[in-house]
Symmetry: C2
Subunit: 177 residues, 2 copies
């Protein structure tokens, strides 16, 4: 599916940047639904250059350090927009090890189940708190055509997701009491 390809094209569409900066982007809001290590990003950028979807120019930082600043080409922008406009079927369910463990939970003591569930619960509560923290920057709904609109949407999606997870965990704990 080459999703990383389109993630990179989308980020470069917002702003030209280096592989290193791209790699850091995957630690910000976008990390709520995608991520990649630099070891995957650098080879992908190389590929995108070969496909003529991006170009780069070298900037010298300090004395000798070469930074490759990547920019979308016209072809790259077109391919990105084509991908973005395409209607896709929903993905098959995403894998979840904890749910798998709960599926087999009748093999555990009730105490252990509660301990495992409580542990998940606090961790998800922390995560939700952090997401709400990110949301606090938005006091009003951003304009639908601004770069911040997508950011706003996915943060809200993450809140829904975490809230549902927390509700479920609490219900599971209730069954085990």
């Amino acid at each position: 599916m080459r999703t990383l390809k389109y993630a990179i094209l989308g980020l470069l569409n917002k702003q030209a940047m280096t592989g290193y900066t791209l790699s850091k982007e995957f630690n910000s809001e976008i990390a709520q639904f995608w991520n990649a290590n630099h070891s995957q990003i650098y080879p992908e950028l190389k590929k995108l250059v070969a496909e003529e979807l991006v170009t780069f120019d070298i900037e010298i930082s300090g004395d000798v350090l070469e930074k490759k600043n990547y920019t979308l080409t016209e072809k790259g922008k077109n391919e990105f927009l084509k991908w973005l406009n395409k209607e896709e079927p929903i993905e098959k369910i995403s894998k979840d090890v904890f749910r798998l463990r709960m599926y087999f939970s009748n093999n555990l003591d009730l105490d252990t189940r509660i301990r495992l569930l409580e542990s998940q619960l606090v961790q998800h509560e922390v995560r939700l708190k952090n997401i709400r923290q990110s949301m606090s920057q938005y006091t009003t709904i951003p304009d639908v055509d601004s770069d911040r609109f997508g950011d706003f949407l996915v943060i809200e999606g993450a809140i829904f997701r975490e809230t549902a997870m927390i509700e479920w965990l609490k219900k599971c704990i209730g069954y085990c009491l």
Copy 2:
């Protein structure tokens, strides 16, 4: 992480079965949070035999067809329980292509956004309806020590997950109107 290994051990702990039957299991309730193709299952079973976690005996079906019926060994059962009891940190967020697309959605016409969101919405509504259908077999909460308890929990988890997704999609559509 060898999660498939533990998924197989867990299923064989419930009941001895063939690779083919295991492969079908991944199309039932368990498909809500894990799956595997037969091309991954057969090699994994071979590995588990080598690790002495499972054994098999060959049954002849009909005249000549050899079916390998796999059973958990004592060692396999222990390793499964060890995995099940272990406290794990929550997984890093799961990847979601649609959320990635919405992150970049300011590059789309409002009409297109609504079309894409509506398309997702109906698909998730169908999925939720099917999950509720699975849930309808449970008129009471199953006993915490029965095999059906885990099944019940994860179906409920899937309902929470899909409901949250649907709520979010509706809210997104609202922003685009």
